[in-house]
């Protein structure tokens, strides 16, 4: 009964993480949207270790969101394998959390901040089970960490963009995932929220969690990330920010001509002509 397995969700997952494996391992993954002629992603390889904070960089339409969707199971990849902590993706859903792109959320829907953060606990509950004291405690802790405890009973639609993003990160904290995905979390976000988001991510990754943050904002890379992956349907560059953040990589990822009048020593023969 396929429909019954599709209906099942939540509850604890007893499959342990494989020790000493990547938090996320993407191998040769390709993806073709139905009816599209060109692959959105082609032969993508990516390994993220526990404790790493990786920026996924590229222009709009480069496939950043698609890659995150494949990890989550929102779309099915056409080729390749994805594993999370040594197990095939989607084996243990509580290990992966998402802060989705703002546009995919119905902000007008009448839910309170506390209800939204509680949604992070659903994966541990499943059908029929109601939140207990521990779930409520974790929700309050997450609210406090994001400094929105005083907004708990407010409608999420009434908040500012920055506050809404704090709510989504608080939900990820309540979810207690080991691999945190964030899709363009910095759009429409004020500076203090941005700092709080990164401060929180730094603490979490220092404690061994892994985080992948998609962004098209190059300005934040060198300050907040140790590693950047440039994506334009395929991986263009992957490495420490100071090594991969070069005019050539940016030009290639964002699809414009690299000009020779950049300072000496940054040119790349492959692209310079």
């Amino acid at each position: 009964m396929k429909i019954l397995t599709r209906l099942q969700y939540g509850g604890s997952c007893h499959i342990p993480a494989v020790p000493d494996t990547a938090a996320l391992s993407v191998r040769g993954v390709s993806f073709l949207y139905h009816g599209a002629s060109e692959e959105t992603l082609s032969a993508v390889d990516l390994d993220v270790s526990p404790g790493e904070r990786v920026a996924l960089v590229g222009p709009n339409g480069a496939g950043k969101s698609t890659l995150l969707k494949l990890v989550l199971g929102l779309e099915q990849h056409t080729r390749g394998t994805i594993s999370v902590y040594g197990n095939p993706a989607h084996t243990c859903l509580h290990r992966v959390s998402i802060v989705p792109q703002r546009s995919s959320v119905d902000w007008r829907f009448p839910v309170t901040v506390r209800q939204v953060v509680m949604m992070g606990r659903y994966v541990h509950l499943g059908w029929f089970k109601r939140p207990d004291g521990e779930d409520r405690d974790r929700v309050e802790t997450a609210l406090e960490m994001m400094e929105i405890g005083h907004l708990g009973d407010r409608q999420v639609g009434e908040l500012s963009g920055g506050q809404q993003q704090r709510v989504m990160l608080a939900r990820s904290l309540a979810h207690d995932a080991d691999l945190m995905l964030m899709d363009e979390p910095l759009n429409h976000v004020d500076i203090s929220t941005q700092e709080l988001i990164f401060h929180t991510l730094e603490r979490l990754t220092a404690a061994g969690k892994a985080a992948i943050v998609s962004t098209h904002d190059l300005g934040i890379l060198s300050v907040h990330f140790s590693r950047a992956v440039f994506l334009d349907h395929r991986v263009i560059a992957d490495g420490p920010v100071r090594e991969v953040l070069t005019p050539q990589t940016i030009a290639e990822a964002y699809g414009f001509e690299f000009h020779k009048d950049y300072p000496e020593g940054t040119s790349n023969d492959r692209l310079a002509h």
Partner: protein
């Protein structure tokens, strides 16, 4: 005054009508908040019309109308999915095509199989024509709908608010949507008895809309919706008895008045909170 209220209740068929009306009110209103906030007004109305052929066939075969309605609803929803999937058509276009086609088929079958008076009852409701056996079936369905919403409340909440997170935790927003549509189809059959196909939409949308004027808490919206629908049904019932007007129209007009009052209250509150 008491006599005035009790007088209609001397007749068993009148009491059955009132109970049927209250059951329909509770079932519709408990779904109303989700219909309103998920933007399902159009698909709800379409479904209410699209189940007509199923009801006619079930009536002609002498089987439960609920089975006929569910069958037609499944076909209609499947058809809508088929024509709108992969971007061939926008979903509202697919809904429009299916809705009109199924409703026309229903009227066609009705005019071939049963009398024209029955058409009137299905279109506009016949609150005084409820049999005792119907009441039991209706009560079971209403219990099912309420149980469905209660069990799936948090899942409906998350799939409505953030489908990406819902998928990430293993829920299927699509399946939940189908489930909700099936509950809508069942509810519609109950409501047809009292307000008819044409006005079912009012019971599905107006209570939730009125409650949303006053509260922004999902649970409170659902509670208020049920209260509003019950009040409107009782008012409509007495109006229909004493003023000899069609029950469906009396119920829906009462609901509309409640909505207007709620809108006024909401406006005043909003301007008061801006002023303060």
């Amino acid at each position: 005054m008491i006599d005035w209220l009790i007088e209609p209740l001397q007749y068993a068929f009148v009491v059955r009508g009132l109970v049927a009306g209250l059951l329909a009110a509770v079932a519709c209103a408990s779904l109303s908040a989700f219909v309103v906030w998920r933007g399902m007004a159009f698909v709800g109305d379409a479904l209410a019309h699209a189940i007509l052929p199923g009801i006619v066939v079930a009536y002609a075969l002498g089987i439960s109308l609920f089975i006929g309605a569910l069958g037609a609803a499944v076909l209609a929803v499947f058809g809508i999915g088929l024509f709108s999937r992969r971007g061939h058509l926008r979903e509202d276009t697919a809904i429009g095509v299916i809705f009109a086609g199924f409703f026309a088929l229903g009227i066609f079958l009705l005019s071939r199989m049963v009398s024209f008076q029955d058409l009137g009852h299905i279109l506009f409701g016949n609150i005084l024509g409820v049999a005792a056996g119907d009441l039991v079936a209706m009560a079971i369905v209403v219990a099912l709908v309420i149980a469905g919403v209660a069990v799936g409340f948090k899942e409906l909440l998350v799939t409505s608010f953030d489908p990406s997170h819902a998928v990430a935790i293993g829920l299927s927003p699509e399946l939940l949507r189908y489930g909700l549509l099936m509950l809508l189809a069942l509810t519609t059959v109950v409501a047809i008895q009292t307000v008819g196909v044409v006005l079912v939409l009012a019971l599905l949308v107006t209570p939730g809309a009125a409650a949303s004027m006053i509260s922004r808490q999902m649970v409170r919206i659902m509670g208020l919706s049920i209260v509003f629908a019950i009040v409107a049904t009782i008012v409509g019932f007495y109006a229909s008895y004493y003023a000899n007007v069609a029950s469906g129209s009396a119920i829906v007009l009462s609901l509309t008045v409640i909505f207007l009052v709620a809108w006024g209250v909401g406006q005043r509150r909003r301007s008061a909170s801006y002023g303060g």
